[in-house]
């Protein structure tokens, strides 16, 4: 393959702009879009977060945002997101694998991807109420269960408690995992499997030596994405629970409502910390994904 491209320059450059600069100029529109509409608001958040409750500049609010009730909220959000992400990853993988091995009927993959595309973006009050209409106290399924003799609400079950929320969050986490890992899973189930068995390995060996190692970057990256997604989910939790140990909900207190408790800077500090958590998460995701990429072109 003849490449007329040099490392820094381009093909016959017609303009007077040095090729080196041209490279970076080409990124300008993209960079500008991201900078103005994403980075600048984030900077705004951090600027406001770096104020104390009396208005002076300082780390007071940042500190307050991770102490006491707020610290509990971060811990809970963290643990909860870990839980929902794990459930979503496991089931998502299972479903992705099921789709991958099903080549007939042929529409399974298409429909699954379509539905995943829609449900992965669903959330908020809509999702919450959809589940309430199914499993709420006046839910259709609840009624069916009681007709069969099982009172779903006899014990501590509640869509708003941890277990309930995990179920609801799975509605968008599982499709997201499927979308992210399907390609990788499809690769893994194919010819490599045959190659492995022809070399004398069984299913167990395959998964242990080939399948899982190859899949693990995808699994990890999917998990991290789900974690980030769950951590920042706001409206769904709000509709189903009065629990305010979820960080986005606490941020909501400061941004809306009839009665605003506390100072604005605390709200921004919470948001700032949340962004930091997300940044770490996505950085790890990106590293994992870059590793996963290697296997996808095989």
């Amino acid at each position: 393959m003849i490449s007329l491209k040099t490392e820094k320059g381009g093909t016959a450059s017609k303009g007077v702009v040095p090729p080196f600069l041209l490279n970076w100029l080409g990124l300008l529109p993209f960079a500008a879009l991201i900078f103005v509409f994403l980075v600048v608001p984030a900077i705004g958040v951090f600027i406001q977060a770096l104020h104390n409750s009396d208005g002076s500049v300082g780390f007071g609010s940042m500190r307050e945002a991770v102490t006491g009730q707020n610290f509990d909220a971060f811990v809970f959000s963290f643990g909860f997101s870990l839980g929902t992400a794990t459930v979503g990853t496991l089931f998502g993988l299972l479903v992705a694998y099921a789709i991958a091995v099903t080549s007939r009927p042929r529409w399974v993959r298409g429909v699954a991807m379509s539905f995943s595309g829609v449900t992965a973006n669903m959330g908020g009050v809509l999702l919450a109420f959809a589940f309430l209409s199914l499993l709420g106290r006046q839910g259709v399924l609840t009624k069916i269960f009681s007709a069969l003799g099982w009172d779903l609400y006899a014990g501590d079950f509640n869509l708003g408690n941890t277990v309930g929320l995990i179920v609801v969050y799975s509605y968008f986490n599982i499709p997201l995992m499927v979308l992210v890992s399907l390609a990788a899973v499809e690769n893994v189930k194919g010819t490599w499997r045959e190659a492995c068995s022809s070399l004398g390995g069984n299913a167990f060996t395959y998964w242990r030596r080939v399948g899982l190692p190859v899949l693990s970057p995808s699994i990890i990256s999917g998990f991290l994405l789900l974690f980030a997604n769950s951590f920042s989910a706001y409206a769904t939790a709000r509709a189903l629970t009065d629990n305010s140990k979820i960080v986005p909900l606490r941020i909501g207190f400061f941004l809306s409502g009839d009665i605003k408790t506390g100072t604005d800077s605390l709200g921004y500090a919470l948001a700032a910390w949340m962004i930091i958590v997300m940044a770490v998460c996505i950085a790890l995701y990106w590293i994992a994904r870059s590793r996963a990429e290697r296997w996808q072109r095989a």
Partner: protein, 389 residues
């Protein structure tokens, strides 16, 4: 319609008219008839200072509309009040943006839309937000013509805002789902109501929920300076499992998911029609053990695009038609004394109101007391109620 043309003739005969031709005539422009409006328009003969308002009306007609915000149809019968305004002042529109916006959202809208044609002209906000707006200089002080008849506790000293209505806490029960409706705060603790009691929001955020906790505090030995018994009460409800965690919205009410709601007394009558259409029977009780009166303040927004109409709207809210409209919605109008003296408060009109003996006990919190209560809530509500269990 006859009364309308009389008013038109009066207006023409009066002060100089500018651009009458601009406004599209035709009485009330909305062709949908609201059952509730017919009763309120007949009383306009009794509205005070009619002459002064004519000039304001003329000015308003040139503006053409008043931008309103956060006025749900079934909240204190705003549907009827909006309609009666249109009936009384033809040619003036009163669109409502964002009916479900909270008070803080209203303030945010005023700030965000400053200078835009759709900037809200008038707001209806909780006392806390009203105070914040006063501090930020967002109001245009205006003395309503009926100012003398409004108690001091229901208006701002500097005339920045006036509270046209108030209500008390009520417990409304969906009797299709719950056979025996609870009547007091003490009742709500009964085990048969497990998971069925709902607050309208989080008291750290929502005015109605704040009021509920305050009312519960009164019911359990607290006072205007002490909200802690209320928090403890709800902590008990939460640990016994009686307090449900689902957020109360119109759909959860209609589906029966939140069958026992503690909310403002004036939030129920507006829903009557829909509840019936859905086949829901309900009962409203005013807990005699916890009487908390709360109001929302309305005021003219400074530098808004339609100043005259905004003032006219405020006048309307505090007029007899407005007051009767509020009564219909189960809210107590600010000028209830004046109305009662004028003989306008018949039994028929009072049917949605809480009983008089309860209303007599209403005392409003001062801004300082509200601020103090907020602080306690911020510290204690989370650990004791919301995040517990």
């Amino acid at each position: 319609m006859q009364l309308m043309s009389k008013q038109w003739k009066k207006a023409l005969a009066g002060v100089t008219v500018l651009g009458l031709s601009l406004t599209a005539c035709g009485g009330s422009e909305s062709s949908e008839e609201s059952d509730m409006s017919s009763e309120t328009t007949t009383a306009d003969a009794a509205s005070s200072s009619g002459a002064d308002l004519t000039a304001l009306y003329e000015e308003c007609k040139t503006e053409g509309k008043v931008n309103l915000i956060a006025l749900p149809d079934e909240w204190a019968n705003y549907k009827g009040i909006l309609q009666s305004f249109r009936d009384k002042y033809p040619g003036v529109e009163n669109p409502v943006a964002n009916p479900d916006a909270s008070s803080a959202d209203e303030m945010a809208a005023v700030e965000t839309l400053a200078g835009q044609p759709d900037m809200p002209d008038n707001v209806d906000v909780s006392p806390a937000i009203a105070q914040e707006m006063v501090d930020k200089g967002l109001f245009e002080p205006y003395v309503v013509t009926s100012d003398a008849e409004i108690p001091a506790g229901l208006k701002d000293a500097a005339n920045n805002w006036t509270a046209a209505y108030y209500g008390i806490m009520a417990i409304t029960t969906n009797t299709k789902i719950v056979s025996t409706a609870p009547m007091t705060f003490a009742d709500l603790k009964k085990p048969e109501y497990k998971g069925l009691v709902a607050l309208n929001g989080d008291p750290r955020e929502a005015g109605a929920a704040f009021a509920a906790v305050m009312a519960a505090s009164f019911a359990n030995g607290g006072s205007a300076d002490d909200i802690l018994p209320g928090i403890e009460y709800f902590a008990e409800l939460k640990s016994s499992g009686n307090l449900g965690s689902t957020d109360v919205t119109k759909e959860t009410v209609l589906s029966g998911e939140t069958p026992i709601a503690i909310d403002w007394s004036y939030n129920v009558p507006g829903l009557a029609g829909e509840l019936e259409a859905a086949g829901i029977t309900y009962e409203t009780h005013f807990p005699s053990d916890g009487i908390y009166g709360g109001f929302y303040g309305q005021g003219v927004v400074k530098n808004s695009p339609h100043q005259a109409c905004s003032k006219l709207w405020l006048e309307h809210l505090l007029s007899n038609e407005g007051a009767l409209g509020y009564l219909e919605g189960g809210a107590v109008p600010a000028r209830i004394e004046a109305l009662t003296k004028a003989g306008l408060v018949t039994d028929e009109v009072k049917k949605n109101l809480p009983p008089e003996e309860l209303l007599g006990q209403v005392k409003f919190l001062t801004p300082t007391q509200v601020a103090a209560a907020k602080k306690v809530l911020a510290e204690k509500w989370g650990p004791m109620v919301a995040d517990a269990g």
